[in-house]
């Protein structure tokens, strides 16, 4: 019988691209204030870069395009990581979590930089549904999912067997391999829980009462 459902955060409960957009807005606002640059020009340049390059190169692209001294990139990364995100749960995800939280203990287990993850959790008000929240980064990158440490912590905290937990996440390595390694049942979802996936999860839970 499943007793605890372990959720991943990014791209499982919400679309992480909303966080990227929120972060770009914060950076654009910062540069508008600090360097008197046009907010919309900065914002659209960052979006443009993300569309072409995806992650990792966006601040470099911005500096090249708008002729900004690259020494500022370190601060832009800080502004991005320290901004309070404007993100939200979709209504159907809220309903789903509400329903599950009535029958099961919900536990969040997320990788990623500590401060941004904490602010995401706060912005999404996940404490309404989640019984426990674990940040793997708390102990450094080496212990991030798929490392067994936090999975085992959760099983121990709830005094349950692996078969009594269910892992739900999108990442084939961090979430899924991590669960597999400990024989924890799992659901791999594509990106932000959809109706079909929610139904399958409910069916699985129904079959494992």
């Amino acid at each position: 019988m499943i007793k605890v459902i372990i959720f991943d955060l990014d791209n499982t409960l919400y679309n992480e691209k909303e966080y990227v957009i929120s972060g770009f807005k914060a950076v654009a606002l910062f540069l508008a204030r600090e360097k008197s640059l046009d907010y919309c020009t900065v914002y659209s340049s960052l979006l443009e870069s993300f569309v072409i390059n995806e992650r990792g190169k966006n601040f470099n692209y911005l500096c090249n395009k708008l002729n900004i001294d690259k020494s500022i990139i370190r601060r832009l990364v800080d502004v991005y990581r320290e901004h309070y995100p404007e993100i939200s749960l979709k209504e159907d995800i809220e309903m789903f979590l509400l329903e599950l939280s009535r029958k099961y203990k919900l536990c969040l287990l997320t990788n990623g930089w500590l401060l941004p993850q904490k602010m995401k959790v706060e912005s999404l008000r996940l404490d309404r549904y989640f019984d426990t929240i674990y940040y793997s980064q708390q102990d450094g990158l080496d212990l991030a999912k798929p490392h067994p440490k936090y999975f085992m912590k959760i099983l121990q905290f709830y005094k349950i067997e692996a078969s009594e937990a269910l892992m739900i996440g999108d990442d084939p390595v961090a979430d899924i391999q991590g669960a597999k390694d400990l024989n924890i049942p799992y659901f791999q979802i594509s990106n932000e829980l959809d109706d079909n996936e929610k139904q399958k999860i409910m069916q699985f839970l129904h079959n494992n009462i």
Copy 2:
């Protein structure tokens, strides 16, 4: 022996997202002129929508966000499809095509709306490298790749066997299944030819002299 190399266009010779960006700029310019909207606000809204929604919903999102009457969407689609694209081949792709075109006949076979595809070909100046250019849409959507019609046309035009052609494209159905169905050798690339893929193609050609 390979005699003719058939290339796909979008996401094979260039990153199609550059075309999307180019189209969004054209739409933003159109709305700035026609509706006195702020160019950058329109442009960044379209990019934002593309980041979150990918394709198909961007003009709808724009109209909702900027409170524009949705009856204009039809015209925006036309502006997008009829704009002259600002896209270009990367230098290493140019070198690759130049080198291949000295030893092989290069043939372009592309799906997609006729006018946009023709303007992409013109903007990328593909006539410098390609011996023939086939637009499957010329005869309607039903005959688009993977339909055998244009693959067979090419074999007939060059009076070659399937084994003397090589298909290079990114789409598992249109490009790859289309080639497989006729026993044409193929290379599936991920998105815009990279160094590793170019090397493998050269090796294959070298082995099939």
